[in-house]
């Protein structure tokens, strides 16, 4: 096995998420649909400086451009 260069690029958590995604996509149709739900995240985060919040950023940006964001950024 090639000596692990992935550690320079991303964390172990990302590594497991990629492996999990590969596994989910390899399942039979019915099980795949159920498993896909377990892998979804619509996480948004916001950096704070000095008591002020910055811009809200999606971790996985949604595909449709037309959908307006539901929550108001504080």
């Amino acid at each position: 096995m090639s000596s692990t260069t992935w550690r320079n690029v991303f964390t172990y958590n990302k590594y497991t998420q990629i492996a999990a995604r590969a596994l989910r996509q390899s399942l039979k149709e019915e099980e795949r649909v159920a498993a896909e739900k377990r892998g979804q995240t619509i996480l948004r985060y916001q950096k704070w400086e000095n008591g002020q919040g910055g811009q809200q950023v999606y971790l996985n940006p949604p595909e449709e451009k037309g959908a307006p964001p539901k929550s108001a950024a504080v």
């Binding site: 964390t11 958590n13 497991t16 995240t41 619509i42 996480l43 948004r44 950096k47 919040g53 971790l59």
Partner: protein, 297 residues
């Protein structure tokens, strides 16, 4: 029905010289009571349906919690056998709450626990320790109490059962953010029973504290693998906390909506009594007027 029509006729009659129309004030009060009754009935319907929804969500959330807690337990095992040499001074405090309200005291319980952590002189937590908040409600509360400490906030978690993908995303963002800390404390709500919860703190060690711990040094682990373990342990702990807090939130929302429905139905019966009494009083007044008028003829 009858009362309202006769009231209308009464108001249409020219008022007696000098006296205010006797039915006018009663009619305004009756109309008000009727409107209030209608709105409280609507509120009762809404809170009842919210309670039903929260009960069904609670069942699902509890099952997910039982499964998710195993991650936290496995985590705790490692840290129990490899305790840190010295207690951390500069801890990263991760506060777990959610974006939605109407769930009783869930968010304020976690915010209060965080403020207690910072106010506690004995524990010796550095006052400039960074805070990261998951959930808009606690973010709003803590941005008023400890605004300078907040470094990162997350939202859109907790709409549905939290997934490990959520927890892994949060853990990665924390690790990438480059914030400095010696230890991590996760503040969340512990599920005691379907009607009670309490805030709790779970400690997670960083890679460096793990490496220095004598219990860990007994095994000669490669640095790479230790880093993986620390990262994975953080994601595990966050996942366990997220799932348990989610279950607490659903149970608190169910209880809150249950209380609200009970209060609303109490209010409805009280208002109904008031309305009936007012209606009967108006009818009686009318009758008295008519009879006095008839007796004068």
């Amino acid at each position: 029905m009858l009362a309202r029509r006769t009231l209308g006729r009464l108001a249409a009659q020219p008022p007696v010289l000098g006296a205010a129309p006797a039915g006018a004030r009663n009619m305004a009060t009756l109309r008000e009571i009727e409107l209030r009754l209608k709105s409280v009935r609507n509120i009762e319907k809404i809170t009842k349906s919210m309670k039903m929804i929260a009960s069904t969500k609670l069942n699902k959330a509890q099952r997910a919690m039982v499964a998710g807690k195993q991650y936290g337990v496995a985590n705790a095992e490692v840290f129990k056998n490899a305790p840190p040499e010295a207690p951390a001074k500069r801890k990263l405090v991760i506060v777990v709450s959610s974006d939605k309200g109407l769930c009783g005291g869930i968010h304020s319980s976690v915010s209060k626990a965080t403020r207690r952590l910072f106010a506690d002189k004995e524990a010796g937590l550095e006052p400039s320790s960074p805070i990261m908040v998951i959930g808009d409600k606690s973010k709003a509360q803590l941005s008023r109490a400890l605004p300078k400490n907040i470094v990162l906030t997350f939202n859109q978690i907790g709409r549905d059962i939290p997934t490990f993908a959520d927890a892994a995303g949060v853990a990665d963002l924390i690790l990438k953010s480059g914030v400095e800390y010696d230890g991590i404390a996760i503040v969340y709500n512990k599920f005691l029973s379907a009607i009670s919860y309490e805030s709790a703190v779970v400690e997670v060690e960083t890679e460096s504290t793990l490496k220095e711990s004598p219990g860990f040094k007994a095994y000669e682990m490669e640095d790479d693998v230790t880093k993986d373990l620390a990262e994975f342990a953080l994601a595990n702990a966050i996942y366990a906390a997220l799932v348990e807090s989610h279950a607490c939130e659903q149970s608190a929302r169910r209880n809150a909506m249950d209380n609200a429905s009970k209060n609303a139905s109490d209010m409805i019966s009280r208002l109904q009594m008031q309305y009936n009494r007012g209606r009967q009083a108006a009818i009686t007044n009318e009758l008295v007027d008519i009879i006095t008028g008839a007796s004068a003829l």
